[in-house]
């Protein structure tokens, strides 16, 4: 008997088919792991299930305990006994545990909140999830792992039958992970069904009864835990063939441009939390170094720290072309020849209301100005040079970048950094959210730059891209480099296994 059946679910976004006839069935009282690469459609599927995407905006059926359901809003799904705990916890930091558990469902009498009743019930729920804190503790005083337990308590208080956890361990320490697993095992014995989204194989195999693998918005397989192993699941997760989507060019790496030794970085707020551990690597002129890893592995932290943009304490040595450098500010990094095409161009790369030419010159305005006065003609000359070289499609140089397509926006960002004539170009998710044609152009551009002697560090969550473009691949997991592969020996399975903490 299935407690939850999602049949033939399809969901389209403009230009992308996020889910393509997905089938997902969960048995009563089991822990069911949902696995897949970044972008495989796991989160979209769960958003459909939790009513975040209302009925009608997707195709297919949701059947709960044999009954067909249509969720128009989140509360509909909650009523049917479905609760989702997102990666980013949704608790109000300034409120107490009790207030958070009953937020929006406070026990009242004639409009007045019954505080004693609320805190009494809250303490019962806390006991059930094994959190030994007074319910009038402020959420802000709890650690992430404890907050997660509060979220679970909150979900259970709504008489949840199906609990969905979206990458619950991404921000947890190892001991917190084992506490969480203990609670989940206990809930299973009490009959709560749980959907566990993760791509960390050790956790999946420690917890799950069944495993469903999604890939490119399709269900690839549903397996019994006892009939499979992590190699099999990983190969199903990546299982697609590498096609001619990547223009592979033989590069001949030259001298070492960047050498990082014994590099450790601490979190900017949690001062004792080390996010990067003993990082060591070299980067040569004229090569593309790919950094692979799962979300939260520390890739973005590494490059933003090298760029002087992270904010946390960093220790270790960085040499650029043999000279020791200490980069304390972004302006120094730019001067030292580092450029960072950041992962989120809307938030970090562009000023959306500004036009193409002003965005192009933003990081290197001194190049087109004298005594602090901008020479607009010089500015137009540089901007139009990059618009031409990168074949950016824009109505004019005065067009606000917010009106361009994703691919053309990305080209403006790249143009901005090329103008700083970098020795080291760091590209964090360089092709995220852009169409195939523009992707190919950006790949060609990367090859051209390497030809001209630029060293590129590319971070990507798309394994085929890492394999297709990199000369060397470093795999990161939990803030460390765990493996290095030459592109010829690397496979998606090997990388995935290293990244998921497998053997």
């Amino acid at each position: 008997m299935y407690v939850l059946e999602m049949a033939e679910i399809s969901k389209e976004f403009p230009g992308v088919k996020a889910l393509d006839h997905v089938n997902f069935k969960v048995k009563q009282g089991e822990i069911h792991a949902l696995c897949g690469e970044n972008g495989a459609g796991k989160s979209t599927l769960m958003k459909v299930l939790s009513g975040l995407y209302p009925a009608g905006s997707y195709g297919g059926e949701i059947i709960i305990s044999g009954e067909k359901k249509e969720f128009h809003k989140i509360t509909d799904a909650e009523k049917a006994g479905i609760a989702i705990i997102h990666q980013e916890l949704a608790l109000v930091k300034e409120m107490t545990i009790g207030e958070n558990i009953f937020l929006g469902a406070e026990p009242t009498r004639r409009g007045a909140i019954q505080w004693d009743e609320l805190y009494h019930q809250a303490s019962l729920w806390l006991k059930r999830v094994g959190l030994h804190h007074s319910p009038d503790t402020k959420i802000g005083n709890l650690g992430i792992g404890q907050q997660q337990l509060v979220e679970i308590a909150k979900a259970l208080s709504k008489h949840t039958k199906i609990l969905i956890l979206d990458e619950p361990t991404a921000a947890l320490t190892e001991s917190e992970v084992s506490i969480l697993m203990g609670i989940l095992n206990q809930l299973r014995s009490e009959g709560v069904t749980c959907v566990y989204i993760s791509h960390k194989m050790p956790e999946v195999f420690a917890l799950a009864d069944s495993i469903t693998v999604l890939r490119d918005g399709r269900t690839v397989a549903t397996l019994d835990r006892n009939e499979t192993d992590d190699d099999k699941v990983v190969s199903l997760m990546v299982g697609r063939e590498l096609t001619e989507r990547y223009p592979r060019v033989e590069h001949t790496p030259g001298d070492v441009v960047l050498e990082v030794r014994n590099y450790n970085v601490w979190h900017p707020e949690k001062k004792h939390h080390r996010v990067l551990r003993d990082i060591e690597f070299t980067l040569r002129k004229g090569e593309i170094l790919g950094i692979a890893g799962l979300m939260g592995a520390g890739r973005t932290e590494l490059v933003s720290s090298l760029f002087g943009a992270y904010g946390g304490r960093a220790e270790g040595t960085v040499h650029i072309e043999g000279k020791t450098v200490r980069i304390r500010a972004i302006a120094e990094a730019i001067k030292a020849g580092i450029a960072l095409v950041s992962e989120d161009r809307k938030r970090q790369g562009l000023v959306m209301g500004m036009d193409v030419k002003r965005n192009t010159t933003l990081a290197t305005l001194h190049k087109v100005s004298r005594l602090g006065v901008v020479n607009e003609n010089e500015e137009i000359r540089w901007a139009s040079r990059y618009v031409q070289e990168l074949k950016t499609k824009t109505a004019s140089l005065e067009t606000p970048v917010g009106t361009l397509s994703g691919g053309n926006q990305q080209k403006v960002v790249i143009g901005k950094w090329l103008m700083s004539s970098p020795k080291i170009l760091i590209m964090d998710e360089p092709t995220r959210g852009i169409d195939v044609g523009a992707k190919y152009e950006i790949y060609n551009l990367m090859n051209q730059l390497v030809e001209q002697g630029v060293a590129i560090i590319m971070i990507s969550s798309e394994l085929p891209e890492v394999l297709g473009m990199s000369d060397r691949i470093l795999v990161m997991s939990e803030g460390q480099f765990v493996r290095e592969y030459d592109w010829r020996e690397a496979t998606q399975e090997k990388i995935m296994l290293a990244a998921t903490g497998g053997k």
């Binding site: 760029f307 302006a331 970090q348 933003l362 006065v373 003609n377 137009i380 139009s384 618009v387």
Partner: protein, 397 residues
């Protein structure tokens, strides 16, 4: 460049027509245009209701009246564009004005020392607030709200809540004198000459870079139109007593800050910070230093406004500059400055100040009770933003 030519050739007919429009009128934003229209409407309306409104005497008064709000609005634009707010400028006007009076009347210092001392005081007050905002990360709203109260309190303390007269003849000139008619004409000619020179200089430079140049006729039309405006202004002012001193301050400051905001790296960085602070930071812009500098400028402009106001009133009072920050903010917003940061122009703010002052002046002339002035000014402010937001949401679709 080649690309631009190409783009222009490929442009369809309506696009070309549109670009001619924008070539003619520049790239001032929609709200500022609406407000130019509204300004003309307001003037015509008051002119019909009360014939004295459009006399050269009243217009001369009006321009003098608007000077304080305009000077403050010029600084406020930069602050708001950077994504902050400065609520303290009214109190800075009061405090530095009081200081000027004390230096001049009690200490009997020469005018030049009084002026430099006042300017320095304004800059220091701005520096202090800017440091708290930029380096100590305290929200500008709080810092300047605190400053608004503290500065007003200090003013009351040091002046012992007395009105201090200013009798220095040089200081009195700054707020009350008029330029001799002949000198006004010379100023007008210089301004027109500058317009011609800058336009043709720009054409020459673009030619050097091989860029497309707007048709000569359009440039001439533009310069001629602006020159006509200058000529009418000088003629109207000369018809009364000549160009008032304070409005020259406004024009010179507006020109300087127009230049800073549109032509310098500092100005560009302010817009970038207000538009997307994260992108600005990752482009290597020193956000803290620039933010502090903006508040220094705002404080400095506050003290300039203080000198003008003290001189006009021939005394410093403890209520001087009260609520002036609100007028300045309203002027910026009416003139197209977005409180979200990243957008706004100095010229727009001046137009906004002119709208606000015209309403004040016109309604006073008609003998309307002062409560009406508050109601009307407040409503105009909200309607201006409403129009702008509804325009913008149409644009998004």
């Amino acid at each position: 460049m080649q690309l631009q030519k190409e783009l222009q050739e490929h442009g369809a007919a309506p696009a070309a027509a549109q670009s001619r429009f924008s070539v003619l009128f520049g790239k001032m934003d929609v709200r500022a245009y609406t407000m130019v229209g509204a300004l003309i409407l307001i003037w015509v309306l008051f002119g019909i209701l009360n014939p004295t409104f459009l006399t050269s005497r009243n217009l001369s008064n009006l321009f003098t009246q608007m000077s304080v709000t305009s000077i403050l609005a010029i600084g406020m634009v930069l602050v708001i564009v950077a994504g902050h707010i400065d609520l303290s400028v009214g109190s800075i006007v009061g405090l530095t004005g009081g200081m000027a009076a004390i230096l001049s009347n009690w200490l009997e210092l020469p005018a030049i020392v009084v002026i430099l001392g006042t300017l320095a005081a304004g800059a220091v007050l701005g520096l202090l607030q800017g440091w708290l905002v930029a380096y100590k990360m305290i929200p500008a709203f709080i810092v300047t709200l605190g400053g608004m109260m503290v500065f007003r309190g200090v003013l009351m303390g040091v002046t012992e809540s007395m009105t201090i007269p200013v009798s220095d003849p040089v200081l009195a000139l700054l707020g009350n004198a008029y330029f001799a008619r002949g000198f006004g004409i010379i100023l007008g000619i210089v301004a027109v000459g500058f317009l011609f020179w800058s336009t043709f200089n720009k054409r020459r430079s673009r030619k050097k870079y091989d860029f497309a140049i707007a048709p000569l006729s359009i440039d001439i039309f533009k310069v001629a139109g602006l020159s006509l405006l200058v000529a009418v202004f000088v003629a109207v002012m000369n018809n009364y007593k000549g160009i008032p001193f304070p409005i020259i301050f406004v024009i010179v400051l507006a020109a300087i800050f127009y230049f800073i905001s549109t032509k310098t790296t500092f100005g560009r960085h302010i817009y970038a910070i207000g538009g997307n602070i994260e992108a600005a930071r990752l482009s290597g812009i020193n956000i803290k230093r620039k933010t502090m500098l903006i508040f220094v400028l705002s404080g400095l402009l506050g003290s300039i406004a203080a000198i003008v106001l003290t001189s006009r009133l021939a005394s410093a009072t403890i209520t001087a500059g009260n609520m002036a920050e609100m007028d300045a903010i309203a002027a910026c917003v009416i003139g197209g400055t977005s409180l979200m940061g990243g957008a706004g122009t100095v010229i727009g703010a001046i137009i906004g100040a002119l709208v606000m002052t015209s309403l004040d002046n016109g309604m006073s002339l008609m003998g309307l009770e002062s409560f009406w002035q508050y109601v009307v000014k407040g409503s105009i402010l909200v309607i201006a933003v409403w129009l702008d937001i509804s325009n913008r949401s149409k644009g998004v679709k």
